[in-house]
Amino acid sequence: MTALAILVALSPLTGSAAALAGARARLAGVAQAVGAAISLGCSLALLVTLDGHAPLAGWDGFLYVDSLGGFFAMTVAGVTLLAALGSIGYVSAQEDGGELSGFQVRLYFTFFGLFASLMLAALETGNLGLLFVLVEASTLASAALVGIEGRSRSLEAAWKYIIISSLGVTIALAGTLFLFYSASALHLGSNLGLTWPYLLAHAQALAPQSLRLAFLLAVVGYGTKVGLAPMHTWLPDAHAEAPSPASAMLSAALLNVGMYAIIRFLAIAQARLGGTYPRAVLLSFGFASIVVGALFMVRRGNFKRLFAYSSVEHMGIIAVALGFGGVLGLYGALLQTLNHALAKAVLFLSSGDVALRYRTREAGQVSGLLAAVPVTGGALLLASFAVLGSPPFGLFLSELTIVRAGFAHGSPVFPLLLLALLGLAFVAFARTTAGMATGEPPQLASPYRGRAEVAVTAAPLILGLAVLLVLGLWIPAGLDAVLRHSIRVIG
């Protein structure tokens, strides 16, 4: 089992290895996709072996995988697979078009593999200090991806991203320190004492005042990575300027890793402080994010920025779901995480194809997508409706669960407000994407060399949408069991 967990985290490095060995975009992309597929397979096998049994723990708690970590690892590995498949066509086209040099391509795949591997490792450690180290390292690797094109706009976005996120994660480290201070009474001596399961089991011995501060600092700090308002300012820039497959990784994988860290702190805080304080914190940041995300979506402009603000909105929805709490709220939050990751990966990957073909990222200059590029246009339109929560896709189910959790939570004001904001987001978002899909198609030259690349560009879109559709109609018994075990972990 330990070997499986190690394989999950290390196999995405195949892309880095291929790039370092000097492979060109196609070969490195294929190597990356194979590595991601192995990682996904191993994470599924790990979840099957765990199946509610005792979590996998080793090396003084540095290695620790329970259902919750395994669930997030599966999500991240799945997104990595989709984004790696998308990278093959996107980066090859950019290499052939002369927009990226051979060096930049090798840099891209080196950091892509490293980024995925660091995120997966962060989900498999029980030590909260090591969690910080890995999250910060993944920030650095992804900042290199954001700035890879080297234009002044992408460097500006990368600078904003690295400086804001690094400061944010450092605040989370201060939060971790305060958590350890709050455990003074436990006389933590060994490495085992610094691990999440130990602190959760001994939560009653934690000092409440410093724990309050620790939780708040952790939400602000890791919340910067999640993109919770008002710490979200780096997010639209980074998502808009990064190469599209890298945007998919940021939005669908990285944000979830930040949310995972918050969930770990939430569990400890709830065990000692009760539900009221942690929930109030999460509800405030969550609603702030939904409001900011929905309002900025009204503006029509760069379509990748639109998708980025939708990520802010969705992270807000997940935070609100955690704030509602209870079995329903947690179930909805986890299901929403998986569904949003799939839908957003499809959206960003199809936006990459659109940007390559139309040579613009402005929504106003794109029209007739459905007629010109039926597969990409259809995927973009369907994924838009999916991300907005229309049936029959998975997000409809998870958002319905969250709203129900809200009514069960007590005051009907919050769920009603949530519904109103979702409506606003729907109108704002669909207005832009519907405009892109319809209308007169212009004459377009294909950016790809062969039919194989066109096919491999379409593959992750169809794959992602298919899974999303299945999740909307039917939750497999295995997934249901994993979600229930994860909820028990959070408590």
Binding site: E136, L140, S152, L167, L173, F180, Y181, P236
Partner: protein, 224 residues
């Protein structure tokens, strides 16, 4: 948790180092010349490595000795020297008073933040009589002052050093809890900082090629 008492020799030394580190953070905040800003940061890191050495003696920890030596070599010497070279020779920047607020305003804000740090972290939060109860408010104040320098300084390199001051503050808090933080984590944090600085310097160089002076005030292409 092992913790030193505040009245032991090592405790007093740690406390004193904490105070000097805070004063140097103020000096950074107030310095008008870029050269001095970097020098104050270097001095702060040297004092920090002295504090780590003190903790190493007190806890008989070989790992802390390594960290103290690394802090001295990387943060105390390498980063300030490299930053000076980057600023003075590559960017030809000798004086940069570019702050978005006045000097006195930022100093008053710094004082208020220090008071705030004591207010939040002093009462009932920490066990009395331990060195942690003396040093943690200091380290919180250094974290806040570093963030303030990041906010008020316009130049990208100045923002980078502001982040490093924040890291120094966190490190100061961490060494008073030596038994709690395993070496691998401390070393990982260190590695992150070094890698972070390297990547940021690459970005700054890239921005310098495209903008007049790589000041954050010029970074205004992306909005909304």
């Amino acid at each position: 948790m092992q913790s030193l008492s505040a009245t032991s020799a090592a405790g007093v030394l740690l406390d004193l180092s904490g105070v000097v580190i805070l004063l140097l953070a103020f000096a950074c905040l107030a310095s008008k010349l870029f050269n001095r800003y970097v020098v104050y940061y270097g001095a702060q890191s040297v004092v920090l490595s002295f504090a780590a050495g003190t903790a190493a003696v007190a806890f008989h920890s070989a790992e802390l000795w390594i960290l103290a030596a690394l802090t001295l070599a990387v943060k105390g010497i390498a980063i300030p020297v490299a930053a000076r070279r980057l600023l003075v020779t590559r960017l030809a920047l000798k004086r940069d008073a570019a702050m978005s607020t006045g000097l006195s305003t930022s100093l008053i804000a710094g004082g208020a933040l220090t008071a705030f740090a004591y207010l939040v972290s002093r009462p009932a939060l920490l066990p009395h009589g331990t060195v942690a109860s003396a040093v943690v408010p200091l380290s919180t104040a250094v974290i806040l002052l570093g963030s303030l320098s990041m906010v008020v300084r316009r130049h990208t390199v100045a923002q980078l050093i502001g982040w490093l001051i924040v890291e120094n503050g966190v490190f100061l808090g961490a060494i008073t809890l030596v038994a709690t933080f395993p070496f691998i984590v401390e070393a990982g944090i260190f590695l992150d900082i070094v890698a972070g600085v390297l990547i940021m310097v690459v970005f700054v160089s890239g921005l310098t090629r495209q903008l007049a002076e790589a000041s954050a005030a010029e970074l205004r292409e992306l909005r909304g």
